[in-house]
């Protein structure tokens, strides 16, 4: 029998390799995020006070939207070329392979966002003392995006017109994340403790990472039909 760890690592290795060979697809959601964030000063005016006030919400809403753009890739190519079937026939429990896919997605989409987060904060004039909390909300929140996103993609991967439907399914489910993440940053901006909302986001992360693989497994069973 193959070690579970081997399969996990092999899946991660292969998918990272595949993604690195189609770099444009990797960069597009990131550029989208930057553009959306820079649209807001143009839309509401460049006053530093207004910008600082709406910054937490803008950054998080934009992050949600750009995450929706990149989610498709989670299973779609695998579904088309049959790699998904092969993944379901691996000699390990499917939850493990699903977690590997979620991990890859996080590495490829969330890590770059974490890297450019200071840039976004800078653009929107977010006070420097709140940067740490913003970064923490993204660190804990993005795994939730990847895990919940995997559920949505698993359910819609066999459909041709999955894109808009995916957002309709996922965004309502992600509202609590948005609420607590922006609340944490806002608390930090006004010098209050952000520990409460941050702890809740951490709880969401644990909850989604433990429960999502089961839902994804069920969803993939329906889609591979």
């Amino acid at each position: 029998m193959v070690a579970t760890r081997t399969v996990f690592l092999q899946l991660v290795k292969r998918d990272v390799r595949v993604a690195l060979r189609q770099r444009s697809e990797l960069l597009n959601p990131l550029i989208f995020l930057l553009i959306v964030v820079s649209l807001f000063p143009l839309g509401v005016g460049p006053g530093p006070d207004i910008l600082a006030r709406i910054a937490p919400g803008v950054i998080w809403v934009s992050a949600l939207l750009s995450a929706m753009l990149g989610l498709d890739r989670l299973f779609r190519d695998d579904f088309r070329d049959g790699a998904l079937e092969q993944m379901m026939l691996l000699p390990v429990s499917m939850e493990i392979s699903v977690l590997a896919k979620i991990a890859v997605h996080w590495l490829l989409t969330a890590l770059p966002v974490l890297l450019i987060a200071p840039l976004l904060a800078l653009l929107l004039n977010l006070p420097t003392h709140a940067w740490g909390v913003l970064w923490l909300t993204l660190l804990f929140g993005t795994p939730v995006l990847s895990a919940a996103g995997a559920i949505g993609v698993a359910l819609t991967v066999s459909l041709n017109k999955g894109g808009a439907l995916l957002s309709l399914l996922l965004l309502p489910l992600l509202i609590p994340l948005l609420i607590f993440a922006t609340a944490a940053v806002e608390a930090a901006v006004s010098g209050l403790s952000a520990a409460g909302p941050l702890a809740l986001i951490g709880a969401f992360m644990v909850l989604s990472l433990t429960l999502a693989p089961f839902a994804v497994k069920a969803g993939l069973r329906v889609s591979v039909n």
């Binding site: 359910l155 066999s158 309502p172």
Partner: protein, 257 residues
């Protein structure tokens, strides 16, 4: 559990049960609605703060309660469909979804209409209205996912999974929205209604409210049963039992005319 459910995996048995249940929902539903509406509109005393406008509560609160309740029952149907692979449960889920969505819409509409005279605006980002809005999105997601599938079985299963994921999320959404609302203080419908929901509410107002709550449940339940029966017949239209029932109905209709 399975043994108890198993007979209703057969469409025919479910259909027969539904036919028996339908009058028990429909007749009390109609009677209670008439009683409740007249009582609420004409006989219940006016509110000392809001005057007559509070009478919207007699449709707003029942629809808000049951929109949530129907979502939970939809998710239970989804759970049964997934765990025991029972197709009639999938059909039940699909029968509940549109009725629940309409209930949610009613609660949103009546909430907005109530907000206008109270605060001079059609929409307030109030905790109750906001979480109802999100609930409407959840219903729409379940229905949209179902219709997106070519294969009805696959669509039913996918919708079941989504309903279950949603029902785990509903309490989280609900409490997060209420918490968010207290964070951004506003005068809200929620506060107005919690005043009515407290035990100190006058019995002259409470009783018609309770009657209306039950009336709406019975009526909405009857609608679900009708939809479920339609769905059962439609899926099995080539089967002898369904054809027998449809032929029978046709004859009755002709006799009536």
């Amino acid at each position: 559990m399975w043994r108890w459910l198993h007979p209703y995996a057969k469409s025919e048995a479910t259909f027969a049960l539904n036919q028996k249940l339908l009058p028990w929902f429909l007749i009390p539903g109609l009677v209670l609605t008439i009683v409740g509406v007249i009582w609420g509109l004409a006989y219940a005393p006016p509110d000392y703060q809001q005057g007559e406008s509070y009478r919207i509560i007699f449709v707003h609160v029942p629809s808000a309660i049951w929109s949530m309740g129907f979502y939970v029952s939809m998710a239970i149907a989804g759970l049964i469909a997934l765990v025991w692979q029972i197709r009639t449960a999938e059909l039940a889920l699909l029968a509940i979804a549109p009725v629940g969505a309409v209930l949610t819409f009613i609660s949103l509409f009546t909430g907005a209409v109530w907000g206008q005279p109270m605060w001079g605006t059609w929409w307030v980002w109030d905790a109750r209205l906001t979480s109802q809005l999100i609930l409407l999105f959840l219903y729409l997601g379940v229905m949209a996912l179902y219709v997106a599938f070519e294969d009805e079985r696959a669509g039913g299963k996918a919708a079941s999974i989504l309903a279950l994921v949603g029902v785990i999320n509903i309490p989280i959404i609900h409490y997060s929205v209420y918490w968010w609302n207290t964070l951004h203080q506003q005068s809200t419908i929620t506060k107005v209604i919690t005043r009515f929901e407290s035990p100190s509410i006058a019995p002259e107002m409470l009783w018609p409210l309770l009657v209306n709550i039950f009336a709406m449940m019975a009526l909405a339940g009857a609608l679900v049963i009708m939809r479920l029966n339609n769905e059962l017949l439609r899926r099995e239209v080539h089967r002898p039992w369904a054809q027998a029932i449809l032929n029978q109905e046709k004859k009755e209709n002709q006799n009536a005319v």
